[in-house]
Amino acid sequence: MNKYSICMVNVAFINPFSDEARQIVREYGNLNTIYQENGDLIQLVTRSPSQDISDEESIPHNIMDLALKRMEWYVKKRNNLEFDYRKYSYLYNRNITNFDVIAFYLLVQAVSVKFGPNSRESRVMVEAQGKLMESRMGELLLSEKRDILGTILNTLLPREVKWTMFADLLSSRKIKLTDLVLDQGNIILDKDYFMENLGFKLEHRDPGKMYDLLIGDKIKELIINRMIMQKTEDYISEVYQKSQRQVEPNPILLELADKVTEILNQPMATYGYRGGATGKVEASPLNQEAFPPCVKIVLEGMKSGGRNDAIILFLTPFISYARLYPDVFRRNTTLRVSDVDPELAAVEKEILPLIHEAAERCTPPLFEDQPQEKVNINAKMGFGMHSEIELKHEGETTWYTPMSCEKVKLHLPSLCKPDKTCKSIGNPLSYYIHRLTDLRYEEATSEEPGEESKQESREE
């Protein structure tokens, strides 16, 4: 057994804002060493349990590399079906804590100085931190996890954690309001608070035991995770503000920031617009021929009831996902529109025009009657309740996934005119993928039979 793996987990491994983490930063010497080949780091990485060391590219040689690997891990994990966990095992290795904390602070500084708080880079950085923390927690022993949760609760969180800070978790139903123990607007997570304020109300029951039962680990973990993400976000703003007053940012940070952008752009090349060879369905220009009957009906314009719902709740999610993220139901990751369409070019030139045309074709035309509904279309694509689509508002609402056939039958029964493809699918989007594959096959076989057979052999 590896001797390293049994050492205690440092809370800084999970919480980069802990005193322990700040200590590590204070003790770290010269910033220039982040570029130097770091033997200790390499050793830790290569000795991490189940780490794949066959590929030299996947081993970080210095702290700068490590910072970038943190981002790469997240972006690849999110975008790739064939994500290889073993190339990043060291990120789950608690012994890298000292280097990891430095890498974290480097990243925060880099993205805030170069891009500021409302950028894609900053957002992905925050998400990556949340995801990394979640994955690391998942690797801990239950007793360690409890310890860490307790320590973080005692230090990181103010004793007052307002439920209103977690509107997005509620909105996405990751937590339910009725599952929280609430008192005076606070989510009760802290044991002392529970004992002082609520425990005495219990009759014939042990308050300590009730605390364990009612305030589950899962809620704590979700809330702490979100708090740390929030702290990261706040810290990015803080660093950005300070950097505005300085004359010259450190060139090392600017270089790191540019490399972060490169990493974020990578999936565009492999996932976003080009066809791959792995059988997954890529984002590509819409093929209206492959639309299911219900979508075709709405595109012709709604002449009777259900007009607003058909355009906003049904058509908008369908068109946007069909164009940008047709694979959503097969892959267990949430994306934002800008992850696939960073300049919002497809949104402006392809998606919105199609939806707006359908809205105009209704009787009465939707926007003549209710111009404010444009805002709702933007909201359903995740851009908040605003009349213009702007990146800075992305995330204020969630990008609604397309309605299932069952929901369509329930809410918009007049749309459901099933054909034979409909029999085998449960969601209009699956219909689209299905037909798209068929159509491509037909196209390929009719035009270039030689090309097709080659492609087939490549896929095997």
Binding site: K162, L170, R173, T178, L182, Q184, D212, L213, G216
Partner: protein, 326 residues
Amino acid sequence: MVSDQLLKPATPEERRRYYREEWDVKDIPEFISNSVQKREFGFDHMGRGPNDRYKVFRSMDLLRKFLRYRAPFAAYSSVAFYEKPQRRDGWIKSELVFDVDAKDIPIRECGCQGVCEVCLNQALEIISSLIDTLKGDLGLKDIHVVYSGRGYHLRLFDESVMTMDSDVRGQIVQYLSGAELPRNEYAAEGVTYKLEHFTIPFGYPQVFTDRTRYAILHLTPETQLDEVNQKLLKDVMKNRELLEDNQWGIFRSKIGPQRYLKLIRSIASLNMALVDAKVSIDLKRILRLPSSLHSMVSMKCTEVKNIETFDPFKEAVPKFVYERKS
């Protein structure tokens, strides 16, 4: 005395008299006047619904003139604040609203056809319990109560909730009204324990216990509940005084655990109707303007300053009603 003259529609002449002689622009609460330019207004001139919409007023004085000269059948303003209220565009935020309509209370003792003193009073009791939960559990402030003419509106201006979306508002409604059956199994260290809602004297289980007790204590032999047959209803009513001293455990065992579950399940779904969820989740709703006349029932939509002492039949009756000839 007045009651036989009440709840009759106001004539156009009475409306004009109300807005010229009795109504004062200062009767409009500050929570409207301080945001008049950000809100959309809507009017019903003929008594056929608020179809004069997208109205905006640059000042309270313009609103005053409009109401004085047009004396509408009904007046409304949006719960939403907009950058461009004339197009309902540039949404900024919306009040969080709970609407308790006396005639829609799920279990009514009065059995009246429309709205009467008894069910209006019941509506106010419900409002008061909602406020307790909003403050005590959810820690929200800046709550106003308005008598609407047929019930009450709770209007919240707490900044922390005004930007929340419909999904979250829907969850708040569920929490407040006790519309969801609390779970009764809790696990720790791999062991599952049964805990009934009434053994947890705080948080959502307590809210559910309170709403359920209220419902059970108001049941009448005529109440229709899904899953609850006449025999069960009779047994519940026979034993319900146990709940007045919180003897839930004994009550449950008298009813029997299976039947108890049926009972609370149907009460939970009934509780959903305590507040009109459609109103709460609609970010762009228009609500009756406080101080305006509810012409259908000839009552004033009135802000409730003191919920303990408010009596709509004293404070919300316009003068012209007293002058009607019987």
